[in-house]
Amino acid sequence: MTNKIAQDWRLKGQRYRLEGEECPHCKVKIFPPRDICPECKQPAKEPYRLSGRGEVYTFSTVHTPPAGFEDYVPYTVALVKLEEGPMITAQLTDVAPEDVSIGMPVEMVTRRMRTQGDEGTIIYGYKFRPLLHSVSN
C-alpha cells in the first residue's frame, strides 16, 4: 500500500469529526475545508465542527465495487445534506439499500475506511447511518 502519513494527518480533522470551516464574513459553513468562502469569496479559515446530522439528498447503490470495497456490496453512496448546509458524499452503513429513501435522516459514524490486510495503518473516517441515537436528555 502507499503510505500517506502526512496526508492522513492533515485530513484527520475532516475525516474523524467533520471539521469544516465557518466563513467569518457571511457565516456560511464549509465542508470540506477550502479556506475560501464559496458564497462570498472571502478568506474563510475558522475551523467549525459539523454536527454530523443531515438527510439523504439523493443516493445510488453500488453492485460492482472498486477495489477495497468488495466486502460491502451492495452498498449505497449518498449525497447527504447536512443540517448546517453543506452537501457531502459518503457511504451509508448499517442499512440495506432497499431501505434507503430520499429525505431519510442520517447521522455520521466513524468507521474503518480501508482494510488493507496486514499492512499499513488503519484509516478511519466518516460514513452515515440511519439516525438512531438521538443525543437529547
Partner: protein, 364 residues
C-alpha cells in the same frame, strides 16, 4: 469515593446472528444447552467496525448527553479499556482523542485487564478525578470478542462486541450515580487468553463444566468477600447487580455463591440478546440498569477478567438518573435495532474467510 458518573453512552454492532445459524454448520453442541448457556443471538462485527469505532460511537453518545453541563475542554483523561485493540503497538486511545475531538492535552491510554479492562480503567480514572488532577475523565470499555473467536469454537455462539462509555466527574450536582467504594482480587490463573501475534482467543479452562468456571470462582468470591468485609454492606443492601454473563447459568451460580439473589441479577443479563461483549459486557448491563433506575438505588458491579482478576464496586443513583434520563438510545432500543445475517455473511464480515492475495474486484 467522591466521584461518580455524569453520563454514559453505548454502542453494539447492528448486525446479529442467531445461534441456530452457527449450529447448522458446526453442530458442535447440543442445542438443548442453548438456554442454560444463555445462547441466543450475538452481535456480528460489520466489515468496517472494530473496537475503536464502537468505542468512538459510545464515547460520542456519552459526551453528547452531557454537552449541556460539561465543556469538552474540561475533560482531562481518556482511558480505553479493552483486550482487543485494533493495534498491538500504538494506543487506540490517542486515535480517539482525535475522533472524539478532545484536547490534545488529555492524558490518554489503553488499559488492559482482560474482560474487566473497562472496570479497571474506570477505577483509575475515578482516582484521578477524585484527586483533583483532572476535572472529568472519559472511560470507555470496548471489545470485539467476535473478531477474535475462531470459527468452530463453542465460544462462537456468544462471542460478540460492544462499547460503553462513562463520563466520570466529581460535582455532586452533575452525577447520575455516585461511586461508593471498590475492592478487587487479582492473581495469575489461566482462563481465556491470546498470546502476542495470535488472532484467536483460547480457553485456558474450557467452555463446559466446573473447571470452566474456576477462574470466576477464585476471583469473584474473594473480591466480593473483600468488598462486603471492607464496606460492612451485605448483598441485601443492593437493589441490582451487573455481573459477568459470558455463558449463562454457571457464572450466575457463582454469583449465588457470592451471596447475590438471582432476582438482583437475572433481569439485567443480556447475553441471550447480544452475546458476550467482553469488556463492554458488564458495563452494558450497568447502562441498562441506569436506563431504568430510580433515584437512591444502590447498584453493585462485579466485573471479571479472564485469568486476571475481579473488581467489585458499588454506586448509588441520584435524582438526576431520573431527571436526565436519556429519551432515546436506551440499551433495549439498541438491542432491538438489528439486521440479521447468515453464517457465511458473518464469516465474511468478521474477516474469517480465506482471502485471495489478488484483487477480488472485476472493476478497475
Amino acid at each position: 469515593m467522591e466521584t461518580g458518573i455524569v453520563s454514559y453512552g453505548t454502542a453494539v454492532p447492528k448486525h446479529r446472528i442467531e445461534a441456530d445459524e452457527i449450529w447448522q454448520v458446526w453442530k458442535n453442541i447440543s442445542p438443548q444447552f442453548f438456554d442454560m448457556l444463555s445462547i441466543g443471538e450475538r452481535g456480528v462485527l460489520g466489515p468496517e467496525e472494530d473496537t475503536l469505532t464502537l468505542a468512538t460511537a459510545a464515547g460520542e453518545q456519552a459526551l453528547a448527553r452531557a454537552a449541556d453541563i460539561v465543556p469538552q475542554a474540561r475533560i482531562g483523561a481518556l482511558f480505553l479499556g479493552s483486550g482487543t485493540s485494533p493495534y498491538a503497538t500504538k494506543a487506540a486511545a490517542s486515535v480517539m482523542v482525535d475522533t472524539l475531538g478532545l484536547s490534545p492535552h488529555v492524558l490518554a491510554a489503553d488499559v488492559q485487564c482482560a474482560e474487566k479492562s473497562g472496570s479497571t480503567a474506570l477505577l483509575l480514572a475515578s482516582a484521578l478525578v477524585e484527586a483533583g488532577q483532572v476535572d472529568y475523565a472519559l472511560v470507555i470499555a470496548a471489545d470485539t470478542m467476535n473478531r477474535h473467536t475462531a470459527p468452530g469454537m463453542v465460544l462462537e455462539y456468544v462471542a460478540s462486541a460492544g462499547a460503553v462509555a462513562f463520563l466520570v466527574g466529581r460535582k455532586e450536582a452533575e452525577l447520575v450515580a455516585r461511586l461508593e467504594r471498590w475492592a478487587t482480587h487479582t492473581w495469575d490463573q489461566n482462563d481465556y487468553f491470546r498470546v502476542e501475534g495470535d488472532r484467536y482467543i483460547q480457553p485456558g479452562a474450557g467452555f463446559y463444566g466446573w473447571v470452566a468456571n474456576w477462574g470466576l470462582l477464585e476471583h469473584v468470591i474473594p473480591a466480593a468477600q473483600a468488598f462486603f468485609e471492607q464496606s460492612g454492606l451485605t448483598a441485601d443492601d443492593f437493589s441490582k447487580f451487573a455481573v459477568p454473563q459470558k455463558t449463562g447459568i454457571r457464572p450466575l451460580m457463582t454469583m449465588g455463591k457470592a451471596g447475590l439473589d438471582m432476582m438482583q441479577v437475572l433481569p439485567y443479563v443480556l447475553t441471550a440478546q447480544i452475546g458476550d461483549c467482553g469488556a463492554a459486557s458488564v458495563p452494558l448491563s450497568l447502562a441498562h440498569i441506569l436506563d431504568w433506575a430510580d433515584a437512591g438505588e444502590r447498584v453493585g458491579v462485579i466485573d471479571y477478567g479472564s485469568g486476571a482478576g475481579c473488581d467489585m464496586w458499588s454506586l448509588v443513583t441520584t435524582a438526576l438518573v431520573e431527571e436526565r434520563r436519556p429519551s432515546s438510545g436506551l440499551v433495549m432500543e439498541l438491542l432491538d435495532d438489528k439486521i440479521m445475517v447468515d453464517y457465511a455473511t458473518a464469516l465474511k464480515y468478521e474477516q474469517k474467510l480465506l482471502r485471495s492475495p489478488h484483487q477480488l474486484s472485476n472493476f478497475y
